[in-house]
Symmetry: D2
Subunit: 353 residues, 4 copies
């Protein structure tokens, strides 16, 4: 199976390369990069030194890309992907897009959240928003997939079981998602904000209001529970490179007990290898912590219940470049191509790290 | 003015020593420690090497302590402080307690939150819960003060203006406080959880439900707004030693605008040197970040407004050992002793650090 | 091929389990742990949650272990391994020992460096000190291997080409090895020194004199150059969990040029996949840096030349748990068992991380 | 006493402002910055928010600067300072220069080390290279001082006692200085190398050969011991913002004992408040560690002796922005102005931090 990556010089592109170069069923046909065409991959992604002698290719016409690849990953900035993907899609090649351009079903929301009118609203319906743990079968049947945003998928996996369990009576107007994100989530471009001396040791509010991933989360959760859902999201940059913890504060009615909530999680994630349920009574890691997923495609989920305030605190933890981006995209490709979803993703996390 | 510190070997005790040794109006009469009696202070607090040749003293009788000191700081674990402070109080010496034992006005809440029946409920009313920015005059008149918990004061200072502004119509049932806390907040005792290899790089849920500081916050906010308030608090250990960011998600009615909210903050904190209002349009530090208060007694507060979800996200940032503990205690002492509240606390934060 | 791990609950043991559980040619027959017998592996190594349901086994008799396994890894403390390994060795089972107990050829050096008389000096000659890049063929023929210490192998790989190149005229009396080591190198036991608040942000001299790995390095380098070599080693604990940078300051005679030195490195490491030569003119990573080997079995080596002081500064960088311990042990097993040395070790490093 | 700072927008400039704004005997007359003229200081140095409402001034003519200030600190890049300082010096104002432009006595060395011909070689002799602990009296008498480079002063203070003690027989040809430096030492300019995701967690060789501070160290040590000294220096960027550890490997003749070496240190630093001798038998901090000087003007020095290799390993630890730059400059100003050298520098380090 031949694969190509467009936008291969960014952090997500680099993680896709790392995974695809080691994927037992995939051959990397091309890694496209406008800026770095002709350079060795390892000049931009220094971890790949010794791993590959391949070079970045200059952008080619969609038809030519489709000739040489069975699957194309598009890891382009939002607004850029939409310029390329529709013509790629027309060739019939499989596409896994990791930008935001095909995630929202309602084209008008691109104006609201991204500030532009979607130039190809008619293709949105052809894309499957890919959270394999929630819509595996749908992904198996599609040729076009939109892989979620990193904080989106992490929060969705933490929240979906609660929204799916109507007996909990979730207060859909007051769902608070408080995310803590590593630096790699904001990309590889240097600036004063990302200068080490300024960025080290921070807990920096980052998109405290109007976070664009809110739209994706609301879309999926509405699908899960059959009603409109409002997500109040705030993100923070914290002192690490990889990882997200999404803390979801959910108010419920009645008097739920932990066992019932636990059952809801088990029911939803039964058979989903990459979601681990974490809720221990002892040890340093009793609830999800991004430290424990670094380098892997796992999303750890768990929860705590506060009876007094009728609140469930649900947690999701991912490596933002893996399950939060490239890992989920490869898992999606596996499903789209009829492979075991774990193929090429069988990495145990590192510990300690 | 002579001062003594009980429980001087912990992190808060050490920070008190650092501040008091350099305080222009205070003389350190004694630093008491059961375990380290007779040792040099700098053996336990290695930063004090070269700063002082003083040694820890063995615990003395309250009457003797009161003879030698005008003010006593009690930095003991909760449950221990209450064994000592009442008899100290009887001597008439001024006491600033930094444990939890005298923070709650309603004795029954000690059973609820701390799991013990308060052994001296009658003294609770004599203590002022000291947040100088909210009750400066009251502190000036008391001889007995309880200094708040670190996440409590950080959250209180972020939230008080919102609760004090009735026109906002704060939803008092759905106030979410999501705190991110440095390691020094949990003290100096080694364990597997705090072992560097296990603790480095975490975003670890820590007291996601039932956090004891909730009780203090609710008590103060109820005082501010005149009605019961429910606080839904979750704390997280993050990858730093000093600092707290408290992210407070508050739902409001109507359609508030930032200017009005800003005014509420200005009104409450006018004349309060140690609260800085942070809400910038550019630069890396647009909202409070604990990185910017390290080593100082500042509490930075600021907010963002999300119209769509009718949510105000209010932030408080402190150095947990300073404004979150020892700094606030010294500020309290200054007020109790008729000094300028800034005396001995005039440290600009370090940057970068 | 069946493998067993003794001392499976430590950090090196855990890394061995992670590698062996994913090794395509190895089956984990048993993970022995005195303290954790009967517990799930993932209770002690939380990264293995979801990866395996296996449990720790109680220690068995050597004969029984040898019945169930083709290769045994002994990841025991020095002084403990020597109590077990000789009887294991007698059974004919292959042993890869990662303790220090079989690394030194001269039994008397155990008294000098480790403070005990080696209880089985006669077996030392049967062990191959395994640095595959230097003695691959010897490893292929042995049944008993001693895997080097983490700072030892990192320094050896940086230094060997210089010592092997007689024309350089290395001053063998003034070789300085200044190592910077992550916390995982000192194991999983909690103490005040490793308490996060005390350990975070340090550059702490750690074994500035008398570092035991000096003995191994001297032994190997003497073999390489045919003469006695004196190594002056100092190690430092730095602010990371995984990784070692070994900076080796070597004085030379004459006027070497970089090209000749470069050739010496190429000659020695030709065909050695796991040693990468790093010496770039631009980019952030011009010389070896442990950040770029995390999660992999690579050892990056490179050098700079200072003509003025007739000094070559040679660098080696490893992930101390991988090439510095478990990774090298698995590579050694691969060779001992006739497999490709890369089998089960084909991990590209993570970046960024 | 009125003071002015030129180049006030850099990290060293910011640290000078922080110290001078809180200095009991100094009034900040002006903070000059070409780029930020007219802006509030706290926009560039966000820690100063709430501390001062002062603004950056546009560069003025030397004569005007000298009219308004008694002392001028020049914190300009090397090559820039030399354009301004000579004309400032002519006015008779006191100057403390923190660039490299006036540190070396031999003008020809600027060609060797900095790549330019010094444009004002005749003024070099008028400058005192200021290490108060070594030449306090000389500083008291000068109007022109050059404050050392950060790794230079840290290494000099670690090494001077050894070089001053002739009986040790220091091998002056093989002195290795291996420095570990925090990010603030390389300034506030963002680049790919300093991008958090690329810089976090590194141990990155930085100037492994040809480090310019070598020249200063050699100059001072030659003065101390009366003979030429060759320093072999390599620096590394490590995972912290503030701090330097300088590890100095020194070979000696004969059989020195720790007591004699200790005496040499005591003799040299007797009466020097800001040098602390650290050499403990227990606790986490037995030797100098930059973690323990953060925020202070201390330089901690200590050593270990390796008899086998006839090596003394001497350590120096500073906060690179304090004793390594701004703190030493203020200490120098104090001496030049007849003040107690501790004035305005009386900060105990923070711990833990």
């Amino acid at each position: 199976m031949k694969v190509a990556v467009m936008g291969a010089s960014g952090y997500v592109g680099g993680e896709l390369l790392r995974l695809l170069l080691q994927h037992p069923k995939a051959d990397l046909a091309a890694a496209f990069s406008k800026r770095h065409s002709g350079e060795y991959l390892f000049r931009v992604h220094p971890n790949l030194r010794g791993v590959t002698e391949a070079k970045f290719a200059a952008y080619a016409e969609p038809a030519r890309i489709a000739d040489s690849a069975d699957v194309v990953f598009t890891a382009l900035p939002h607004g850029e992907s939409v310029k390329v993907v529709p013509s790629l899609a027309e060739t019939g090649v499989k596409v896994v897009d990791v930008s935001a351009d095909f995630r929202l079903k309602d084209a008008s929301k691109y104006r609201t959240w991204y500030g532009y009118d979607h130039p190809a609203p008619e293709v949105l319906k052809d894309f499957v928003y890919a959270v394999p743990e929630l819509n595996r079968e749908e992904i198996r049947r599609t040729a076009l997939a939109a892989s979620p945003g990193c904080t989106a998928i992490t929060s969705i996996l933490a929240l979906a079981p609660l929204l799916s369990e109507h007996s909990l009576g979730v207060d859909r107007e007051h769902i608070v998602v408080d995310a803590k994100v590593g630096s790699s989530g904001s990309g590889g471009k240097a600036s004063l904000s990302t200068h080490f001396s300024e960025r080290y040791g921070v807990v920096r509010p980052y998109k405290p209001a109007g976070h664009r991933h809110s739209a994706e989360i609301e879309q999926v959760l509405a699908g899960v529970c059959g009603e409109e859902v409002s997500v109040s999201m705030s993100a923070h940059a914290v002192n690490m490179v990889r990882g997200i913890l999404s803390t979801c504060h959910v108010f419920v009615q009645g008097s739920p007990n932990p066992v019932d909530i636990w059952k809801a999680y088990r029911r939803v994630y039964q058979g989903s290898y990459f979601v681990r349920l974490v809720r221990d009574k002892e040890g340093p890691f009793r609830l999800p912590d991004p430290k424990l997923v670094v380098g892997s495609n796992f999303c750890d989920v768990g929860f705590e219940l506060e009876g007094r305030t009728k609140r469930v605190v649900a947690f999701g933890a991912t490596d933002n470049l893996m399950k939060g981006a490239a890992g989920n995209a490869v898992q999606t490709m596996n499903l789209m191509c009829g492979l075991d979803e774990r193929e090429g993703l069988n990495y145990a996390p590192l510990h300690p790290v």
